[in-house]
């Protein structure tokens, strides 16, 4: 049976893993390569590394971090942050990534999705969407808006429509982050996740708000997510993938349990 995926996310700045609360308040949490291996050994189904500064000067550092992290990592490995062209993506693949996650650059130039896909396959392209509910609207979920530039800039585009377009342009997966929930540890935005998951055929990865195992079970069931991302939940000894997956499995969600 196809299992639901738990994806460990490492937010990286200047070669170190950090975790912000609602995109600010940065706290140092360690070495990316070391943490990636620890997560994989504990049963994380995939590893995502997001370069949250993604400055031009930082590219060399990032590629070095990707190379170190990918060495001896034998689960799927995604890299995102600052990928603006097919050449940027090629450099990240060459350093050992299996997939790239693109966000602002895909909004700015949607053709980029197909350009990366034509060389590396659709499965290698994740379109990340930072979403915020449209408070004050009669349907705040349907009218939820896409934000870019690390959540600083509204785009005027609707989340569900953009997810559909990304799929048509050849995205392999959608990584949906709820900015309203991110960092709160109060649970995922299940309603928004379900709306997007029902709108597209490709897998949807839910992100933002994980605080406990119950939250994961909810987003897999009510949110119809195919995978869910967790970052801060792991880093400070709250739990590890092994414990988390055992609890999610006990709640009736198919999980790959490490031996």
């Amino acid at each position: 049976m196809l299992t639901k995926r738990i994806i460990a996310c490492l937010d990286v700045r200047a070669g170190r893993v950090v975790k912000g609360i609602q995109f600010v308040d940065i706290v140092d949490a360690g070495d990316p390569a070391e943490l990636a291996h620890r997560h994989a050994a504990a049963g994380a189904d995939e590893i995502v590394l997001l370069d949250i500064t993604a400055t031009h000067e930082g590219r060399g550092t990032l590629l070095d971090t990707v190379r170190r992290t990918a060495a001896n990592l034998f689960v799927p490995f995604t890299v995102g942050g600052g990928i603006r062209s097919a050449e940027d993506a090629a450099a990240v693949f060459d350093a050992g990534a299996d997939k790239v996650s693109i966000n602002s650059a895909a909004i700015a130039r949607p053709e980029l999705i197909g350009e990366i896909g034509s060389s590396f396959g659709a499965q290698a392209v994740i379109v990340a969407i930072d979403a915020r509910r449209a408070t004050g609207s009669s349907d705040p979920v349907e009218e939820a808006e896409v934000y870019v530039s690390g959540g600083r800039k509204p785009t005027g585009r609707r989340v569900v429509e953009w997810a559909r377009e990304a799929e048509q342009r050849g995205a392999g997966e959608i990584l949906l982050t709820s900015m309203d929930c991110d960092g709160t540890r109060d649970g995922f935005d299940c309603e928004l996740t379900r709306r997007v998951s029902e709108a597209v055929q490709i897998p949807v990865i839910a992100s933002g708000g994980a605080g406990n195992a119950q939250h994961f079970a909810e987003v897999f069931k009510a949110g119809r997510a195919d995978a869910a991302l967790a970052a801060s939940i792991f880093h400070f000894g709250i739990t590890d993938s092994r414990a988390l997956k055992a609890e999610v499995a006990a709640a009736g969600v198919p999980m790959r349990l490490p031996c």
């Binding site: 049976m1 196809l2 299992t3 639901k4 995926r5 994989a40 189904d45 990918a70 060495a71 001896n72 034998f74 689960v75 799927p76 693949f93 060459d94 050992g96 299996d98 590396f120 396959g121 659709a122 499965q123 290698a124 392999g172 997966e173 055929q201 490709i202 897998p203 195919d226 995978a227 790959r256 031996c259």
Partner: protein
């Protein structure tokens, strides 16, 4: 020498990295039929569109593979590399496969048992009906999880060495003598995947 065939279908870094990790150091990433004929083992990775396998014909690698297979060289196709071992795929009907195994690869159905079936099939799924005599799957316990990402699949036949269930059973691994293939990505399937590659290297 292990020849890893590069036919511009995706990224070979991960496969080569996994083989090196398992102690294979004499690896040649190649498009040359001569390398395929000289190699002790041949690996055909590949993700993406079946159409990309057209390059194998254009580079005369189809005949080289046939010849290598006939003289007993262990051959492993991965993902689209497995699909190419069949007669063809509905993904690219004008591009024939090697036809070493009978059957045509087809797309996952849109629905199964009345329920919507998402496609591509992405994620970790279990190996079932593992053939006990399979050399490639030696030591792999039934129910072990492996990582998939694909929209087309090969039919189950007498050569199937293991199945996986998604919208019905499909061929997860195929094996007849020295020619074998896996639909999943062993280089991305943690310990289970590394064991498969280790078994192949030990042939």
């Amino acid at each position: 020498m292990i020849a890893v065939i590069d036919y511009k279908a995706g990224n070979l870094t991960s496969v080569v990295k996994a083989l090196r990790h398992l102690g294979a150091h004499d690896i040649v990433v190649t498009q040359s039929p001569d390398d395929v004929l000289l190699a002790d083992k041949v690996v055909l990775p590949g993700v993406g569109h079946f159409q990309a396998t057209q390059l194998l014909h254009d580079l005369c690698l189809t005949n080289a593979t046939r010849e290598a297979a006939a003289k007993g060289t262990p051959f492993l196709g991965i993902c689209v590399g497995l699909q190419w071992l069949y007669e063809g795929s509905t993904e690219a009907p004008v591009t024939p496969g090697l036809a070493h195994f009978a059957g045509i690869c087809e797309r996952f159905p849109a629905t199964f048992n009345g329920e919507e079936l998402k496609s591509p099939h992405v994620g970790w799924n279990s190996l079932d009906d593992i053939r006990p005599s399979s050399r490639l799957l030696t030591g792999i316990a039934p129910g072990s999880f492996v990582y998939y990402t694909h929209s087309w699949r090969a039919p189950v036949s007498a050569d199937t060495a293991a199945t996986t269930n998604y919208g019905g059973a499909f061929t997860a691994a195929v094996e007849r003598d020295n020619v074998m293939g896996v639909q999943f990505h062993p280089e991305k399937s943690a310990e289970t995947g590394l064991r498969v590659l280790k078994n192949f290297l030990a042939l």
